[in-house]
């Protein structure tokens, strides 16, 4: 079995700060990490490798620094890693991204056909969850998003059975490979990298592909040119005209502050009284 895992290097958004005066992003010093949702996908792929035997290839598109993300994936046990990097990819939206990735995946398939493509639920920088569905459509593979559990793969019938998160419940679905799976957070715990894999990851001769190497002829399909959507403006949220009414009391005791707050609130918003429905202890 050949499993491909798509990963992305993202800024650790928990550490992004906005300059209070200029309202611009302060990028300096924000560490780059592997998108946390992609690590869940990678772990799921590695578990299939443990169970059924598989070659696990990781693929990322990004600037040359994204190499670090691939080496991280290798240290967890991925077998191969390919970095798709070219200035022509810059400014891609989800449609242009899935085009470039799908082209690279077809190129990888020339070497060995792919049975499963894994991706994270979404990234923490874009939050779109669109590249997975885009890849399945372009590669004409079956799409299973928000997978919460892989029940099993049947190598004889070439089928996979999964549980998929839906509104109000879980769908149990069976499909034929090849398929694209995006997996939900919290369904596994990432393994620890072994010392041997860490050494291997550090020494691994990374495969680096530019646009041509990925077999992309049409530059109109990638990067900014291949993106139907454009950002027309970026802005900081403005404060509401009305700031919070700060509740204080002379005593500064929690009990007094809370009593003042509740009295004020129930007078001004009497409808809230009816909203309180205590649960029995």
């Amino acid at each position: 079995m050949h499993i491909l895992v798509c990963i992305k290097q993202v800024p650790d958004s928990a550490q992004i700060r906005v300059h209070p005066v200029t309202n611009t992003i302060m990028r300096q010093g924000v560490p780059a990490i592997v998108n946390p949702y992609d690590l869940v996908a990678l772990e799921e792929a590695l578990r299939l490798k443990d169970q059924y035997g598989a070659r696990v290839t990781v693929l990322t598109m990004g600037p040359p620094q994204a190499e670090a993300a691939l080496r991280k994936a290798l240290s967890f046990g991925a077998d191969e890693a390919i970095l798709l990097t070219d200035r022509a990819f810059a400014g891609a939206d989800t449609l242009a991204t899935s085009y470039a990735l799908a082209s690279a995946i077809r190129k990888i398939q020339e070497d060995m056909p792919i049975d499963l493509v894994f991706a994270g639920k979404q990234t923490i920088d874009g939050d779109t969850a669109q590249v997975g569905p885009g890849l399945a459509t372009r590669l004409e593979m079956q799409l299973l998003t928000y997978v919460s559990r892989i029940d099993g793969v049947d190598p004889d019938t070439n089928e996979i059975t999964v549980q998929r998160r839906a509104e109000g419940g879980v769908q149990r679905l069976r499909t034929r490979l090849p398929a694209v799976l995006t997996v939900l957070e919290g369904i596994n715990d990432m393994r620890f990298a072994t010392m041997a894999d860490m050494f291997r990851a550090a020494r691994y001769p990374l495969v680096v592909w530019d646009r041509e190497a990925a077999g992309i002829d049409d530059v109109g399909k990638i990067g900014l040119k291949g993106s139907p959507t454009v950002v027309s403006r970026v802005f900081a949220p403005t404060a509401r005209a009305q700031k919070a009414e700060i509740i204080t009391t002379q005593s500064e005791q929690p009990d007094d502050i809370v009593a003042t707050l509740l009295a004020k609130m129930f007078t001004k918003h009497p409808q809230l009284r009816a909203a309180i429905r205590p649960r029995l202890a």
Partner: protein
């Protein structure tokens, strides 16, 4: 909150002129999502917003229903009319009884190609995002995910979709140039529900989907309903008490649960708290979690980063408890208490118990 401050990258460098082949694309469409025989409320919220967009453009608003049987489809179409649609496209086929990507994407794509809407809106749910990503790719058009606001640019009649960016630190407005339809997904509870008017009528346009079960590769083996309906209860809770990193330790979340029990409220949390494992991911509120619109939102130890704010600022009344008087949460909360939440929460729980006891006595 969506007032532009600093325009950074003008879109003016690229042309807005529409290719003649897209000139026939008219109308605003809303995909009606339904699960187990019930229309998802996000579809009604989208119809409410779609109505405004359609009126501004001077075009019709249509619902799109894909269903397994005609009776259900007819009932869903009526609901679409009650919530503002002028017409409703219905595609009925047994293959469409349960959601699967392949038949739904194929049917919706065929509908778009045949009837050519200029705007297509879907809920940013597990179904809507799965479907929208596939359909937009096949149609080779633009799709903006998880929008928090939709508007029509009066200059060029294009859809201006606003969403948080950079992990929720800033907002951006995205337009689709020279491609149709312009697609967007919007999360449940971001938009308000329109009034349901049962006197409204519309026309049903029935289409025959070209489907056969043996062509569909993915099979549904079973549907396992959730035992706990946490998702629904958080998104539609009247009162939510939420905690952030200011609560310092996972143990301190107990104080929130106590208050939640006293109020009959749901417990929510910020992303850092969920990432730290203090509460489960289904309680996360914000850009990468859920959007909520409760009557009362109590934010304890939450600074009010945009990532969190976009998920809860639709609350009617917001109480913020934070020791930092300069925390951004005080810029948009209704009431603020500048103090340590670990001291205020128990006092509030006791006060609510007293309040309820007093009410009981009065009765």
């Amino acid at each position: 909150m969506t007032q532009p401050a600093t325009p950074s990258r003008p879109a003016g460098r690229r042309k807005f002129e529409l290719d003649p082949r897209f000139e026939s694309y008219k109308g605003v469409w809303v995909f009606l999502e339904h699960n187990e025989g019930v229309v998802h409320p996000v579809s009604f919220e989208l119809l409410g917003e779609g109505r405004k967009l359609a009126d501004q453009l001077g075009v019709e608003l249509a619902g799109v229903v894909l269903a397994g049987d005609g009776t259900a489809a007819r009932a869903f179409a009526d609901e679409a009319f009650f919530h503002g649609a002028d017409l409703c496209f219905t595609a009925i086929h047994p293959v469409l009884a349960h959601y699967r990507n392949q038949p739904h994407a194929r049917t919706l794509t065929a509908l778009v190609n045949a009837h050519q809407p200029e705007i297509l809106l879907l809920g940013a749910t597990t179904m809507g995002r799965d479907l929208a990503g596939s359909v937009a790719t096949t149609l080779q058009t633009g799709l903006t995910a998880d929008c928090t606001g939709l508007a029509i640019d009066p200059e060029n009649r294009s859809l201006a979709a606003t969403r948080p960016t950079f992990g929720g630190s800033l907002l951006c407005t995205i337009v689709t140039l020279n491609y149709r339809p312009q697609m967007a997904t919007v999360r449940p509870r971001v938009l308000s529900l329109p009034t349901r008017d049962t006197s409204r009528r519309g026309r049903v346009v029935a289409v025959e989907p070209d489907l056969a079960e043996d062509e569909i590769v993915t099979k549904l083996l079973e549907f396992i309903p959730d035992a706990r309906r946490d998702e629904a209860s958080l998104a539609f809770a009247d009162i939510i008490v939420a905690g952030g990193r200011g609560l310092k330790r996972a143990d301190n979340f107990r104080l929130l649960w106590d208050l939640a029990d006293a109020l009959g409220a749901e417990v929510g949390a910020t992303r850092p708290v969920v990432q730290a494992g203090w509460v489960t991911a289904d309680r996360q509120i914000g850009q990468s979690g859920k959007t909520v619109r409760p009557k009362l939102y109590i934010a304890a130890g939450i600074s009010g980063a945009v990532q969190h704010r976009v998920g809860m600022e639709g609350a009617d009344v917001i109480i913020a408890i934070n020791p930092d008087p300069d925390a951004p949460i005080f810029d948009f909360a209704t009431y603020g208490i500048v103090a340590n939440a670990m001291q205020i929460l128990p006092a509030m729980t006791a006060a609510i118990h007293q309040h309820m006891a007093a009410l009981k006595k009065a009765v």
